[in-house]
Symmetry: C2
Subunit: 155 residues, 2 copies
């Protein structure tokens, strides 16, 4: 098992992923790491949607900047990361907490993937409307990022 | 050495810190974990300022919501986390990347502290102007959070 320092040292976007699927146990561990991440008022307003069919995958890929698509297309697991900002109420200031809390949960996913010998590429620069339409997210949701998870292919 | 899963499972805000200082080696490890965090365009626009004198500590404490002050006051190490948003240029959208990247770096600090048996409490709800004045941050900076790091006191 890698230490956190080893995990962090090995971080980095792979050039491509292997097509081998992410097994259930790894997937559970990864999303569990997100589930227990700290959040404003502990409301955990993150929402992760796994792309299970080709149309959903295609929709998420189309929402990414063109240079990111080949890498994300190679990943066996694509995930849309969204937030429900209205869950945090009564803040003294208009902090965009969904832009804090969802990335923190994502960083847990990235590190947990690293512990398991997997990699997670994250794209925050996306067409938010396209992501929301693809996953059927209604009003009250914000799309934050798209994640690509898998085994990094040896260079 | 704790695994990431153990670190994550043990996360949580302590009720108080021990006064024992955070030694240099731990401090270096903690900030190194932040230093190598992923960021937009890899520009690493986070800025961490360690409060080294009583006036700086008092200024940061005064910028916090009242209920957070006793815990933060008990910590041997107080840190202001700021960002320089203008480092990220040319984004397609007006993503508040400093609100993504600084929290990700902070989550690395929280987890690295956890690996070392320390705790890091994070307060994002703060008087930004007061934090910036306290640390002498000029235009172009945003104050994101105040961190309290130390050994959690046994309940």
């Amino acid at each position: 098992m890698r230490t956190l320092t080893e995990i962090i040292d090995a971080l980095g976007r792979p050039s491509r992923f292997d097509p081998a699927p992410v097994d259930d146990e790894a997937r559970r561990a990864i999303f569990n790491a997100a589930r227990v991440a700290p959040s404003a008022d502990n409301v955990q307003m993150w929402r992760f949607v796994i792309a299970r069919d080709p149309a959903c995958r295609a929709g998420l890929l189309a929402a990414l900047p063109r240079p990111s698509r080949p890498l994300f297309e190679s990943a066996p697991l694509l995930v849309a990361a969204l937030g429900e900002p209205w869950f945090v109420k009564g803040s003294r200031r208009e902090q965009p907490f969904f832009m804090i809390d969802v990335p923190i949960a994502i960083s847990h996913i990235v590190l947990q993937a690293g512990e398991l010998g997997l990699a997670c590429a994250v794209e925050y620069d996306l067409d938010e409307t396209a992501v929301k339409q693809t996953v059927g997210a209604g009003e009250g949701f914000r799309a934050v990022a798209v994640l690509a998870i898998g085994t990094p292919r040896a260079a």
